[in-house]
C-alpha cells in the first residue's frame, strides 16, 4: 500500500514537472522603452507597459508625465513575448500589443506609440415582431484593437497584425420568434459605425450611420 502511494506521488511529481516548464533565465534581463502620446502628440501619463510570457508578467512600468516609459523585465525561457500597452489608470485610451518571437532579443525600442481615445458601441437588434422575413445585417466599425509584430510573420502568432482597422461584422436573423441580439464593440472616439440591413435576399438595402461621439454609445435596431 505504501509503495503504491509513493509510486502515485512520484508519477504526480513527474507529470507536474512536465507541465510546468516555465523558467526564469539566469543572468538575463529585458529592456523596453517607449514614448506614449495621444493623436495631438501630447504625452500620456499613467499608461502601463508590461512584458508577458503567456500571461505571466515578467516586468511592468508606467509612463511618466513626459509619456516616457522605461521597463526592465526578467527573461523567461519562452519563445514568444507580448509587450502590452494598457491604460489602467485613465481608462480612456486604447491599448496595443507588440509581439516578438525572437528569444535572443533583449532590447525593445518601441518608439512613439500613439493611443486613441476609446469609444464603445452597445449594439443590439431587437426582433419584437413575428415577421417571417429574414434580416440580413452588416456593421462596419473601426476597431480599437492594435497588434504589432516586432518580428516574425502571421504564421508565428495566433492573432493577425493590424491597428485600428475597420472590421465588418455580418449576421442574419431567420427565426420567426422574437429575439434579442446584443454586443458591445470597442471602437474609436469620433469615428462612425455604419449599420446596413435588408429584409430578404432581394430586399432594399438601408444604411444607418452611427456617430461614436461619446465614451459609451447605444444603438438599437428594433423590428
Amino acid at each position: 500500500m505504501k509503495k503504491s502511494i509513493l509510486f502515485i506521488f512520484l508519477i504526480s511529481i513527474s507529470f507536474q514537472s512536465c507541465l510546468d516548464n516555465f523558467e526564469i533565465e539566469d543572468n538575463a534581463r529585458l529592456y523596453a522603452t517607449a514614448v506614449i502620446t495621444d493623436p495631438a502628440n501630447n504625452p500620456i501619463e499613467g499608461i502601463d507597459v508590461t512584458i508577458e510570457d503567456e500571461g505571466t508578467i515578467l516586468g511592468r512600468a508606467t509612463s511618466n508625465n513626459n509619456g516616457i516609459v522605461e521597463l526592465i523585465a526578467l527573461k523567461s525561457n519562452a519563445e514568444f513575448l507580448d509587450i502590452s500597452i494598457i491604460d489602467n489608470s485613465n481608462g480612456i485610451f486604447t491599448g496595443a500589443t507588440f509581439k516578438s518571437s525572437d528569444q535572443f532579443l533583449n532590447e525593445f525600442n518601441l518608439g512613439t506609440i500613439t493611443l486613441l481615445r476609446k469609444s464603445d458601441l452597445a449594439f443590439s437588434i431587437n426582433k419584437t415582431s413575428n415577421t417571417e422575413e429574414i434580416l440580413f445585417w452588416r456593421l462596419e466599425i473601426q476597431s480599437a484593437r492594435c497588434i504589432v509584430y516586432l518580428n516574425g510573420t502571421t504564421e508565428d502568432y495566433f492573432e493577425e497584425e493590424g491597428c485600428y482597422e475597420v472590421e465588418t461584422i455580418t449576421g442574419s436573423i431567420a427565426t420567426q420568434e422574437p429575439v434579442l441580439f446584443e454586443r458591445v464593440y470597442n471602437s474609436i472616439l469620433a469615428s462612425t459605425a455604419v449599420f446596413t440591413y435588408r429584409f430578404g435576399e432581394n430586399g432594399e438595402r438601408t444604411t444607418v450611420e452611427i456617430p461614436l461621439n461619446d465614451t459609451i454609445n447605444t444603438y438599437e435596431f428594433e423590428y
Binding site: 526564469i24 543572468n27 534581463r29 529585458l30 522603452t33 512600468a61 526592465i72 532590447e107
Partner: protein, 222 residues
C-alpha cells in the same frame, strides 16, 4: 545565506592542519617575534548600496553574516578566505516589483596587512576578490545572477584577551555581475556598489617559537 555546506566543511578541513601547527603561547609574554598564526572571525555587517544601480534603487538590505579564516604568512601580513551572505528585499516602485527577494552569497580570497599594531589595538587593511551569487525568488521560482566581487576594507581590532578580539570597520565592495541585457541598462543592473559596516569577534592562535627559544636560553643560563 546560500553558502554550500560542503564547501564550508571543505575549507574547515583545510584549515585543520594550521590549527594543529599553531601553538598557543598561553600566559607567556609577547616579544618582537610573536605574532598571530591563524585567526577565525565570525561577524555581521550592514550592506548600504550606493550609486546608480537597480539594487540601490529597488531593494532594502538586511544584516549579513560573515566568516573569515586568516593565516599569517609574515608577521603582519596574512592571506585568508571569506564567506558571507545577506538578504535583499525588493521594494515596490509604482506598486510593482520585479522580483520578491534576493539572497546574496560570496566566497573570496583575501590579503591583509596590519599596518598599526599595539598591545590592545591594531589597524588592518584588507582586500579580496571572489565569486558572488544573487539567488533571486519570484512567485516561487528561483533564478540566479552571478559575477565577481571586489572589496577593500579598513578594520580596527581590539584585543579583549590574547586569544579573543573584537573587530569592526567599513568596507567598500564592488559587485560586477554578468547579466546579459541592453547597453542602456547594462551598468544599472550589473554594477552594484556597497558600503558595508562590519562588526564581529575573532579567535586567534599565536606562534611560540621565540618564547620557547627564550625559555631554552634561560634554562641554559641556569
Amino acid at each position: 545565506m546560500n553558502l554550500n555546506t560542503k564547501q564550508t566543511l571543505f575549507f574547515l578541513v583545510l584549515l585543520f592542519p594550521f590549527v594543529l601547527s599553531a601553538q598557543a603561547i598561553g600566559d607567556l609574554a609577547k616579544n618582537d617575534k610573536t605574532h598571530k598564526v591563524i585567526s577565525f572571525s565570525l561577524g555581521t555587517f550592514k550592506p548600504i548600496a550606493f550609486g546608480d544601480s537597480f539594487i540601490n534603487d529597488n531593494t532594502e538590505s538586511n544584516f549579513g553574516v560573515e566568516f573569515n579564516a586568516q593565516f599569517n604568512i609574515i608577521k603582519k601580513g596574512y592571506v585568508g578566505v571569506r564567506l558571507n551572505g545577506f538578504g535583499l528585499d525588493v521594494t515596490e516602485a509604482n506598486g510593482q516589483r520585479l522580483y520578491d527577494r534576493s539572497t546574496v552569497s560570496s566566497i573570496s580570497i583575501l590579503l591583509g596587512y596590519r599596518f598599526l599594531e599595539q598591545e590592545k589595538y591594531a589597524v588592518t587593511t584588507l582586500g579580496g576578490i571572489g565569486r558572488v551569487n544573487y539567488s533571486n525568488k519570484v512567485n516561487g521560482k528561483r533564478f540566479n545572477d552571478n559575477g565577481t566581487s571586489y572589496w577593500f576594507q579598513l578594520e580596527g581590532e581590539f584585543s579583549v584577551s590574547r586569544y579573543f578580539q573584537i573587530y569592526g570597520g567599513p568596507e567598500l565592495r564592488l559587485d560586477r555581475l554578468n547579466i546579459a541585457s541592453a547597453d542602456a541598462i547594462n551598468s544599472r543592473v550589473n554594477n552594484i556598489n556597497y558600503l558595508m559596516l562590519h562588526i564581529g569577534m575573532r579567535v586567534s592562535l599565536w606562534n611560540n617559537e621565540d618564547t620557547n627559544k627564550e625559555k631554552e636560553d634561560k634554562d641554559e643560563e641556569n
